[in-house]
């Protein structure tokens, strides 16, 4: 940022305390909204899903009638000129990959804190415990997380909460503000601040917290004997909460039906063996075990045929699939869905499978017996187990942070395996219809595959593109005989899971696995015993957690860097000997001058480039060659003399999130000591071309392109006055939707729409109308674009591999 004079709140410098809000446009915008019917409030919150897009589209119209209700997107209350904070928070919330990263970090913090408490208890070494608690940046993470959580809850409970009053959906970021002020006193007082500066601060604090956490983790892990004691302690704590505390080995109690339980035990044992040794062979054995179980269960006639072949498939497929990790799961889920559909189960089920949303839960609860839920909860320390399937993820989020931690722990593949196994067992026992059997089998296969893959690679997130084929193959062979297999295949292709870190991915896996059993249950739920199966899954989990701890301590998350860090190369070329010196530098954002000084040199170039977007021109002005000449010559090591040189910047490593900061505030153009704002119109393209210098221009790789997803605008005359608001893009949900175990944004409600977050008020614009606002020079956009956020044109899941 050019200037930070807001820091000194001397009497002289006092600036108007109120944010100037541009109100005039509101009405017209609201009208627009109504017209376009883009702010859907869901009648039946439960029913919304990707599958139902059509339905959703129609819903908003219904909403129009009750236009008094604010849209189901949480807003942030202005606590006195805190719009700079609100705009940044909103943008971060919609930053792809940010929420999962945050949640993961949060979970880790919680976990580490527990570990340390344990440590303290054990060793009575209170000193060790202190730093983490007092670490403000870690507090920031927690508060940020809670804030988003809070926002999410509002959105979930939109139905009950929403009224015509904008405050009904507003959350107070008071705690967060406090902690930020503690961290950086600059933000104290009620002056307006620079949103860009705040963003930088927040991100750097988050980064700090990651570092701190890592060092703490190291400490803890070093101190703790690697033996399982500490882990077990945690486990026990978890378990102790549940009324029925059962060590992992005793899952049987949970089950209603003793027979089934036994079988499950067997299968689990087999699985556990697998877990310990990760070789595919074992996996096979596990599968075999499953088969056996299935056979033994032969309650239903149809199942047998399908199972055996599937089991074999399962063995074979996993190996082939090992490369693609989680994808398998997703496939499973989908395939399950598909199966469900074929079975004639309701659309709602599908929904549940996809998003694992609360709505889904409710459906479940309806469908499945209430008893099951209760049992599940009690049986397993994690509330997730309950409906098991769908709701697991959601429950975790909603329930206490501890549960979330658990989720984190679940990451192990092993868990997944077990779950899958248990599911199959359950299904077998319960399934009466052939269709249901298929689903179960498929899921089993998928699970096996997943597990093995996971073993092979601990990589984080997988897109399912490769996976679908597998899944489809699985589905097809068994399914064909029974019911239409085509649908599932199609759906598989859609699925994209967003997971940044390995942990997340694991949890995602878990979630999917859980989901899958659920479905199977649903179909059987008509029958009696579906519930029991679900419970089984969770018993196994605790073990995994303990093992997870080890891995957790070893890994270091760095999601801020993963998201925002780019690399530039600074190249200096001697004009005499033409040797180059290159230096690589990191950058987090790019400051783009709004006014390019028109030198004679670039006159001509400008002529040819009229077609290009203005922003792009500005950006390339930034990388223009700087000549070191006259009194600023360069000392060349080869020539041993001061020579002319060309210094140029090149984008080398592209960040996943590209932050462009338009330098709208400058002292130079204003009066002495006065920061003036350059209000020049900058046309903002929805996508940016590849910036990498190594790529030929135009670069053909679509994944090097950038898509606009958020803008922070500023209305007003100076840096220290005026009003910030943000426009954020709600991602188009992919076919399968993302698993809902992370903090979420109202993706389902407004896919592909743009939200205008103006403190308490959130307005919804659809893409075309937003575009016209963006391009309009008449200021239909509130304020002038100030900070632009682009994300790479690739699924978030691939970002970790920088």
């Amino acid at each position: 940022m050019v200037i930070a004079d807001a820091e000194s709140p001397g009497p002289v410098k006092k600036r108007p305390r109120l944010s100037l809000k541009v109100q005039k446009n509101n009405e017209s915008k609201e009208a627009k909204i109504e017209k376009e019917a883009t702010s859907p409030v869901l009648e039946n919150g439960q029913e919304v899903s990707d599958g139902e897009k059509e339905g959703r589209l129609s819903e908003p119209k219904e909403e129009d009638d009750s236009k008094s209700v604010v849209p189901a997107a949480a807003s942030l209350e202005n606590l006195g000129n805190t719009c700079f904070l609100n705009s940044v928070l909103q943008v971060l919330r919609y930053t792809p990959g940010f929420l999962p990263g945050l949640e993961l970090l949060y979970q880790e913090i919680v976990q580490v804190e527990k570990l340390r408490k344990q440590d303290v208890l054990l060793k009575e070494d209170a000193a060790v415990f202190e730093p983490l608690e007092s670490n403000k940046s870690i507090h920031l993470v927690k508060d940020l997380y809670r804030l988003y959580k809070n926002m999410e809850q509002r959105e979930e409970n939109h139905e009950e909460l929403a009224t015509s009053d904008v405050m009904s959906m507003a959350v107070k970021p008071q705690k967060l503000l406090n902690i930020i002020r503690e961290l950086n006193p600059m933000f104290e007082g009620y002056l307006q601040h620079d949103a860009q500066e705040l963003l930088r601060c927040v991100l750097s604090y988050l980064q700090d917290s990651e570092k701190d956490l890592f060092s703490v983790k190291k400490n803890v892990s070093e101190k703790m004997p690697k033996s399982e004691t500490p882990k077990n302690v945690i486990m026990e704590r978890f378990l102790s909460r549940c009324a029925k505390v059962k060590p992992e080995n005793q899952p049987q109690n949970v089950f209603h039906q003793p027979d089934i339980l036994d079988q499950i035990e067997q299968s689990e044992a087999a699985k556990t063996s697998i877990t310990h040794s990760t070789t595919p062979v074992e996996a096979d054995t596990a599968c075999l075990a499953q088969k056996e179980v299935l056979k033994s269960e032969n309650d239903s006639n149809n199942k047998q045929r399908t199972r055996t072949p599937r089991g074999k498939k399962a063995n074979e497929e996993p190996k082939s699939n090992q490369k693609s990790k989680q994808a398998g799961r997703q496939n499973l889920t989908r395939s399950k869905k598909a199966c469900d559909e074929t079975d004639g189960t309701t659309a709602s089920e599908t929904v549940e499978c996809n998003g694992g949303r609360k709505k889904a839960r409710t459906c479940l609860s309806k469908a499945s017996e209430s008893q099951t839920e209760e049992k599940m909860e009690t049986g397993c320390g994690d509330g997730k187990t309950v409906n098991g399937k769908l709701s697991c993820e959601e429950d975790k989020k909603e329930k206490s942070g501890k549960q979330q931690t658990i989720l984190g722990m679940f990451q192990n593949q092993k868990t997944g395996k077990r779950l899958g196994m248990s599911r199959t067992v359950l299904r077998n026992s319960t399934m009466k219809s052939s269709a249901s059997c298929q689903a179960a089998d498929v899921s089993v296969n998928g699970d096996c595959g997943n597990e093995q893959r996971q073993k092979g690679e601990k990589e984080d997130v997988v897109k399912c593109k490769s996976a679908p084929s597998v899944a489809s193959s699985m589905n097809e062979s068994p399914t064909k005989s029974q019911s239409s297999p085509k649908q599932p295949v199609v759906k598989l292709e859609k699925c994209d899971r967003v997971c940044n870190s390995p942990l997340k991915s694991v949890s995602a896996k878990l979630a999917t696995q859980k989901l899958s059993p659920y479905k199977s249950d649903i179909s059987p739920s008509k029958g009696s015993s579906g519930e029991a199966k679900q419970k089984l899954d969770f018993n196994v989990i605790p073990k995994n957690k303990s093992s997870n701890n080890i891995t957790l301590t070893a890994t270091k998350t760095n999601f801020i860097e993963d998201l925002f860090l780019g690399k530039m190369m600074l190249r200096t070329k001697c004009c005499e000997c033409e040797n180059c010196r290159e230096r690589i530098e990191d950058f987090h954002d790019i400051s783009v001058p709004v006014r390019v000084e028109r030198t004679e040199e670039c006159e001509e170039e400008e002529k040819d480039e009229d077609s290009d977007s203005c922003l792009r021109k500005l950006m390339f002005a930034f990388t223009e060659v700087e000549r070191l000449r006259d009194d600023n010559k360069y000392f060349c090591d080869t020539c041993l003399s001061h020579v002319e040189a060309e210094r140029s910047l090149h984008y080398q490593g592209l960040p996943n999130i590209l932050t462009l900061h338009l330098k709208r505030f400058s002292t130079s153009s204003g009066l002495f000591g006065y920061v003036s704002k350059i209000n020049d119109h900058v046309s903002i393209p929805l996508s940016l071309p590849c910036l990498r210098y190594k790529c030929p221009s135009p670069c053909s790789r679509p994944d090097h392109r950038y898509l606009l997803y958020a803008i922070i605008t500023h209305a007003g005359v100076t840096l220290t006055s005026g009003h910030y608001l943000s426009y954020v893009h709600v991602p188009q949900t992919t076919g399968s939707g993302s698993p809902r175990h992370f903090l979420s944004t109202p993706t389902q409600q407004f896919p592909g729409h743009w939200l205008e977050c103006d403190d308490e008020t959130v307005r919804v614009h659809d893409e075309p109308s937003f575009l016209s606002m963006l391009q309009g020079e008449d200021g239909s956009l509130m304020g002038t674009p100030y900070v632009l956020f682009y994300h790479r044109n690739t699924p978030v899941s691939k970002w970790s591999a920088r």
Partner: protein, 680 residues
């Protein structure tokens, strides 16, 4: 944030008011560094080479043994280009010292110095038929001169009418046709600009096509065609009539830095960063041949055509002189080139036609690395042939040639546990040692006379020398205003004393003086004065302005004329008893000494005295008497009884405090010393 970028070393190009001198032999017979330009005089069969070592040398190409004839040394930075005019009688040179000089080529005397440019002058162009010269450089201007008027310049008639064009980019190449109808410039704009020298203001056209700096240009005789060599690795043939590029030759793997074409403009010879000389047939660009391969990037080519109209001497065949960044340069035959042209070459496997040059003018290695030794009086250098040498700064000469030894080891071997402040800067751009003295730090180095090997002539034991002062005295030894000159009875200045040091008579001294700029924009403009040490007393030689007085900066004049001793550097430190002694600190004030040269033993004496006062208060008078009588003895006693520590290390009594601070304290804050009594 990326918006702030560290400029790093880039800012050092800025000039300061300073006195520089070059350590060299009296006669530097051979090139020390790269050769930027070559000109051939077919009449006398002489060769002129413009060296990066600032010297223009004249060579006799017919000589069997030693081709060196003489040097023209008035530049003091790279000579970037030279042209031979008036049928070999006059030479014009362009240098990075921002000047253009006009020489009598036959005698080697400098006729005039033109300060028309404000930055490095990179290139010259010559129109033979009109006797017209153009110069251009990094100050982005092109200046035209009439050679006849240049030659007519004398000290008294120092003005000439010139016209100039202001460009937007640094110009790296320039060419004119013999009739002077077309002038082409190449710049970092990556384009050619064509001017009509008769109307020097307007740019006729701008030819775009290159993607990097244009480093070499040749214009055909009739001025209709032009060849350009660029850092983008291509050679382009342009039709000036059509204002377009007719052909693009890709013969080099790297930047093209040098071009020559034959008179008929049918064959182009090119050289560049890839160290190769190619001959290409312009009528059929596919036909080319690799003439030779050099060992260093090629800076310039000079084509000698045996059958040219001007020179039709029997026995002279086509050949080409190749100048590189290496100090030697070679002559290669072009005899068989025409026959060998063919189209299918793979640059990786092609073999040059010639592997042995016809002639080689050898050069001396250039210094490419230096290390200032701890005593800050000596410099260890390594040259391009890995010879290591030891130089004395105070004497401005070579101390010892160590031969091909390990540079790093020699540095280690010469390490002394002494710290002397930095007081000069070293520059190697000429391939020779250039020392810069700058007001800001020139007087910061003090050493005791003993360290310099001076036996105490008189007075006290610890005479201190200021190195900068001593060196300035030596450099201006022949300047009559120095304090060592006194007026004798006849009113003439006579040398009555001589400085403690002396430098060789031939040492070249340059004074850079900043002056308030007359142009206003840059704030300060710099002017320079160059003289040879022994000439400081001469008042009326041509090119030496009468009054050195006007040039010597005040800070130098003070020590030279007024014999004013620079201030020593104060040092403050804290003295505490070592915790192990159990003595209570007697005071916690900082002690201040006038010179950081104070030796540890002085401090020890102080401590010892203090302790004895404290413990044996009664005998106070006795001790002081003792002490006064036998200071030597006293200090040795003190050294036996007390020792000083810094950061828990015992200090050598002969070390001085600044050395302690640098090697033991290693912090910026005030030095803290601890003392303790030695127990026996």
């Amino acid at each position: 944030m990326m918006s702030s970028h560290n400029r790093g070393s880039a800012g050092q190009g800025k000039r300061k008011t300073q006195i520089s001198f070059i350590i060299r032999d009296e006669i530097e017979k051979y090139n020390r560094s790269g050769v930027n330009a070559i000109q051939y005089d077919p009449e006398l069969q002489r060769l002129y080479s413009a060296g990066r070592d600032s010297i223009i040398r004249i060579w006799d190409t017919q000589a069997k043994e030693d081709p060196y004839l003489f040097s023209m040394e008035h530049h003091f930075d790279w000579v970037n280009d030279i042209v031979l005019c008036r049928e070999g009688r006059a030479l014009i040179s362009a240098s990075s010292d921002t000047t253009i000089k006009v020489w009598n080529a036959h005698e080697g005397s400098c006729l005039a110095t033109l300060r028309t440019h404000k930055d490095y002058v990179k290139c010259l162009a010559y129109a033979k038929e009109k006797e017209m010269v153009a110069s251009a450089g990094l100050d982005r201007s092109i200046v035209y001169y009439d050679v006849a008027s240049l030659v007519a310049l004398t000290v008294n008639n120092n003005t000439t009418s010139i016209s100039s064009v202001r460009e937007t980019h640094s110009i790296y190449s320039l060419a004119m046709n013999p009739s002077g109808t077309v002038l082409v410039s190449g710049s970092t704009e990556n384009a050619l600009k064509v001017y009509d020298p008769r109307d020097c203001v307007t740019c006729l056209m701008k030819l775009k096509g290159h993607t990097d700096n244009v480093r070499a240009l040749v214009v055909s005789k009739d001025g209709t065609q032009c060849l350009s060599g660029s850092s983008d690795g291509t050679i382009r043939l342009w039709s000036l009539g059509q204002q377009r590029c007719i052909a693009t030759l890709r013969v080099h793997d790297d930047s093209v830095w040098a071009l020559q074409a034959n008179d008929t403009f049918t064959t182009v010879y090119s050289g560049g960063r890839d160290k190769r000389v190619w001959a290409t047939d312009l009528r059929n660009p596919e036909h080319r041949t690799l003439v030779c391969e050099e060992k260093a990037p090629i800076l310039k080519l000079e084509l000698i055509q045996g059958d040219s109209e001007t020179v039709s001497r029997p026995g002279v065949t086509d050949s080409i002189w190749v100048a590189t960044t290496d100090s030697s340069f070679k002559n290669w035959s072009l005899d068989k080139i025409q026959n060998r042209m063919s189209g299918d070459y793979d640059n990786d496997t092609v073999k040059p036609v010639y592997t042995q040059p016809l002639k080689t003018v050898k050069g001396n290695p250039r210094i490419r690395q230096y290390h200032v030794l701890n005593d800050k009086c000596h410099i260890l250098t390594r040259d391009t042939e890995d010879n290591v040498a030891l130089w004395s700064v105070l004497n401005a000469q070579l101390v010892e040639n160590l031969g091909k030894v390990n540079f790093e080891e020699e540095i280690k071997k010469r390490f002394k546990m002494v710290y002397v402040h930095h007081w000069f800067a070293v520059d190697l751009k000429l391939g020779l040692l250039t020392i810069h003295l700058d007001e800001s730090d020139v007087f910061s180095a003090w050493v005791s006379a003993k360290e310099l090997g001076f036996t105490p002539q008189s007075e006290s034991v610890d005479t201190k020398f200021n190195l900068g002062q001593k060196l300035l005295e030596a450099l201006f030894e022949h300047w009559p205003r120095g304090y060592w000159f006194m007026e004798n009875q006849e009113g003439l200045l006579e040398k009555v004393d001589s400085p403690d040091f002396s430098v060789p008579d031939h040492t070249l001294i340059i004074i850079w003086l900043g002056q308030p700029s007359s142009h206003g924009s840059d704030g300060e403009s710099f002017n320079f004065y160059r003289f040879v040490c022994r000439d400081a007393g001469e008042m009326d030689q041509m090119n030496v302005p009468k009054h050195l007085n006007d040039w010597v900066p005040p800070w130098a004049a003070e020590v030279i004329i007024h014999k004013k001793t620079p201030k020593t550097i104060k040092l403050t430190f804290y003295l505490h008893p070592d915790p192990s002694t159990g003595i209570k600190p007697f005071k916690n004030e900082a002690l201040s000494v006038p010179s950081d040269l104070m030796q540890v033993k002085k401090v020890i004496e102080h401590v010892y005295k203090f302790l004895r006062q404290g413990t044996e208060n009664g005998h106070h008078s006795n001790q002081s008497a003792n002490h006064e009588k036998e200071p030597q003895e006293f200090s040795s006693i003190a050294a036996e009884k007390v020792e000083l520590l810094c950061n828990n290390q015992v200090l050598n009594a002969n070390m001085d405090l600044r050395t302690v601070k640098h090697f033991f304290w290693k912090q910026s804050g005030d030095l803290v010393l601890h003392y303790r009594i030695i127990k026996r």
